[in-house]
Amino acid sequence: MDPISDPERSHPVSGLMVVDDDEDILFTVHSLFKKRPFPVLLAHSGQECLNYLEKGFKGVILMDIMMPGLDGWETIQEIVNRDLMHDLIISMFTAKDVPDTSLDHLKEYVFDYITKPFEPENLIALVNDYITMLE
């Protein structure tokens, strides 16, 4: 198992978490950030994201929307319900570029909205900005 996706590893104070059921996306984003001075966690589902948060993850979350089990919005709702919304910046990370208006009640928890496919340089700059903001 890749150590950065091992749920048993010790958790960082601040880092980047990518939540996506697409292994290719996880691999690509990990490749982009593996040399950065902050840890990168890969979560394959909303539930795995919640597990990391329960263990104390703080930082930037790139959240896919369409995932089996909890989708991205349901995961955010659960983050709010469990009072885990501390020292987090959440950006949706999705191919779907127009959010449903029925999700308006969650908008205050979503800092940004990054669409796939993405420009690597833009993604790196944005994540670095948000990581800096949290430091």
């Binding site: 208006t101 908008k107 205050e108 800092f111 940004d112």
Partner: protein
């Protein structure tokens, strides 16, 4: 007193950081209403303070706004201006599903020919700020929206565009230049 109110939601922070990068102290009071959780407010404000030399403040309530200062509405509170000068924070019902609400802050202004008002709506989901911007226009403000083509999510500026006669549709760079022109 010159007062600029900026309403922003999803996708807005990155634009706000671009807009305020290098902005010097200006003779106006700026209020930013960004939809965000309470825990993020101080970090957002800190980042802003690294980009502009304006005095960035997260108000606690009771502050009298002054030129040269930029006030960030704290998460989970509505920011109301009493008599166009004193910040009141309220934990009343969410408006447009959010607290702080852009509409609440903008509609708290009172018409006064001694003041120059400016309102801008940036990227975001939903329609918060549309009524507020229309109200500001009605009381004599100059009102603007971020060009929807440059928005991460364009529904907020588009809703404002439909709600009132916008003075100008501006790119982020043009918003930066407009703010600079207010010196």
């Amino acid at each position: 007193m010159n007062i600029l109110i900026i309403g922003s939601s999803t996708g807005g922070p990155r634009i706000i950081f671009d807009i305020f990068n290098g902005i010097p102290v200006l003779p106006l009071a700026i209020i930013i209403v960004q939809h965000m959780p309470e825990s993020t407010t101080s970090r957002f404000a800190k980042r802003l303070s690294q980009l502009t030399t304006m005095n960035v403040i997260v108000p606690k309530g009771g502050e009298v706004i002054v030129h040269g200062s930029l006030y960030v509405a704290p998460g989970d509170h509505h920011l109301v201006l009493k008599n166009n000068e004193t910040i009141i924070l309220e934990k009343s019902e969410k408006v447009n599903f959010v607290r702080p609400s852009v509409d609440v802050t903008m509609t708290s202004l009172r018409s006064d020919p001694r003041h120059a008002f400016y309102g801008i709506i940036l990227s975001g989901m939903g329609c918060d700020g549309a009524q507020g911007l229309a109200y500001m226009k009605k009381i004599g403000a100059q009102v603007f929206i971020q060009d929807p083509d440059t928005c991460t999510i364009s529904s907020m500026p588009e809703a404002a565009f439909k709600a009132t006669n916008i003075d100008q549709v501006l790119s982020p760079e043009a918003i930066h230049n407009f703010i600079l022109s207010l010196k």
